[in-house]
């Protein structure tokens, strides 16, 4: 009997049970099933030419198009790959001997392990006793600027372009006739750690250069936070910061120049953060940033598709 109908199977069995042996008339023929098409054409991807043209000038997610109401598969895969990069950056730990190997004064916060570092920002803002003692005995005191390299939320960024940024920044500062503190590197550090370090070495300006919270496609970005007159208790309103310091954002060389201009302004005005007057710096910052044409940056493609 036709497999299409459970009831017909059951009735045929019942009929047999009731003693009717004569064959039933043949079932009507099953409908013909069309063979599948030789090639299944996917839903056409819809893209805006305007957004695509705009996307050539930015690494932002413009002009990614859509398929029906959804993202195209390669866009979804790219998202997932970029998210994996970000996860990995957050999960990476700065090796204990990395600072010493690179000739930096090694410091450590009160955080015990990486997990605690992620869960307890407050502990990442203070040095442990051994580091504080080492800082007091080994670091140069009474300097104009104390730069601090740190891992922050991306040890990958710190190990990647951290040294380049530290060197560029130091060079630019010295070129402007400022004294620069002992190069140092803090592990498990949060931004506000610069307050305690700057206070301990008696620096006029403290600058912490640390890996920033990774976003999609930027696991290797550094941020720099500058504060005038560092002491524990300063707030974010007292700081100036610069983010996206990486090859596809502001390259370390350029960032070093801009940070030096900013530091000079802090020392001249004797303040930082909201109170710092940036109005007269526009020209200088522009010059430091380099106003020459810079080719548009392309988003790094982790997933390649054939079009």
């Amino acid at each position: 009997m036709s497999a299409l109908s459970r009831t017909r199977e059951l009735v045929a069995a019942l009929r047999h049970e009731l003693g009717a042996q004569d064959p039933l008339p043949p079932a009507p023929p099953l409908p013909k099933v069309e063979p599948p098409p030789v090639r299944v054409f996917p839903t056409r991807r819809t893209e805006s030419r305007y957004a695509q043209a705009a996307s050539a000038h930015t690494t932002a997610l413009l002009g990614i198009g859509h398929v029906g109401t959804r993202y195209a598969t390669d866009v979804v895969l790219q998202f997932q790959a970029e998210l994996a990069v970000a996860h990995e950056a957050v999960g990476t730990e700065l090796p204990d001997d990395w600072a010493a190997r690179n000739g930096l004064l090694p410091l450590r916060t009160r955080v015990a392990d990486h997990r605690e570092f992620l869960l307890r920002p407050d502990l990442g803002r203070r040095l442990d006793d051994a580091s504080l003692a080492r800082l007091r005995s080994d670091a140069r005191r009474g300097v104009d600027v104390q730069p601090i390299l740190a891992d922050g939320l991306s040890a990958v960024a710190c190990m990647g372009s951290g040294l380049a940024l530290l060197e560029a920044y130091t060079r630019e500062l010295e070129a402007r006739g400022l004294t620069v503190g002992t190069p140092m590197c803090a592990k498990f550090a949060r931004v506000w750690l610069e307050d305690e370090i700057g206070e301990a070495v008696g620096a006029k300006v403290a600058a912490i250069l640390l890996g920033e919270r990774p976003g999609l496609g930027t696991g290797d970005g550094l941020s720099a936070y500058l504060v005038f007159g560092p002491r524990v208790g300063k707030t974010d309103g007292d700081r100036n910061m610069m983010s996206n310091i990486h090859a596809r954002g502001t390259p370390p060389e350029q960032a070093g120049r801009r940070l030096a201009v900013l530091t000079r302004a802090m020392l001249d005005q004797g303040t930082s953060g909201v109170a710092l007057d940036l109005a007269n710096l526009a020209a200088e910052l522009g010059e430091a940033a380099g106003t020459a044409y810079r080719a548009p940056q392309k988003r790094v493609r982790l997933v390649e598709v054939e079009r």
Binding site: S2, L4, R8, V11, L14, L24, P25, P28, P31
Partner: protein
């Protein structure tokens, strides 16, 4: 031949891709949600109800109208009227077309009456729906996706057979319509697990066959 399928005859199938809102409203459709209508008439009403429900499982359509005609197909108002007019409605004409295809497939291969006597003059409908669509589930007050036995027979056969069906398995009566229906039959919906629905439906069919064989019993009266 007893329990031979009495195949339903589809008398008309029409598709109105974009129906007038007044027509939509008067047949129970909502012009805000429905655009397209699919119409079918058939000489067996109960298999058509099952087939309409089947359509809701295969396409984004609603059964907006389904009514049996008085006294059945033998007394129809015309050669195309049959016993029932069923109407499905949907927002997309393609969906309605797909729904009609599923409906016709069900009428050709699944739902049908069976002959309960050798002459084929007594008809029984002991149908098991393994998974309800959203039309009959609403009619019967059951959850979509549950199993149901859809039982129909003439008055005396139905009465005796329903008793047998209810006693044959762990089934609950979801709805019992005693005679006469519009077509002078009687029907019941029994709910339960699929094996229970199957056992009840087969007990029902066997009892209808038994009444057809021995209508007067005991003979002492």
């Amino acid at each position: 031949m007893i329990l031979e399928p009495l195949l339903p005859k589809v008398l008309s199938v029409r598709h109105i891709p974009a129906a007038h809102p007044a027509l939509l409203r008067s047949y129970g459709a909502d012009p805000e949600r429905h655009v397209s209508l699919g119409l079918v008439t058939c000489d067996q009403d109960d298999p058509t109800y099952v087939a309409l429900d089947e359509a809701t499982k295969h396409a984004q359509v609603d059964v907006v109208f389904a009514k049996s005609f008085y006294a059945g197909a033998a007394h129809a108002s015309g050669p195309l009227s049959g016993e029932i007019l069923g109407v499905i409605a949907g927002a997309d004409p393609d969906e309605v077309g797909e729904g009609l295809a599923a409906l016709l497939r069900c009428l050709a291969h699944d739902a049908c009456f069976y002959a309960a006597n050798d002459a084929g003059t007594i008809a029984v409908f002991p149908h098991v729906i393994t998974s309800l669509g959203h039309y009959l589930s609403k009619v019967a007050g059951l959850a979509p996706g549950s199993s149901m036995a859809y039982l129909v027979a003439p008055p005396i056969e139905f009465t005796v057979a329903l008793d047998a069906a209810l006693k044959a398995a762990a089934v609950e009566p979801a709805q019992i319509d005693p005679p006469p229906s519009a077509t002078n039959f009687a029907s019941a919906f029994l709910s339960g697990a699929q094996p229970d629905c199957e056992a009840a439906a087969m007990a029902f069919a066997a009892a209808v066959v038994d009444v057809a064989r021995r209508p007067i019993r005991p003979t002492a009266y």
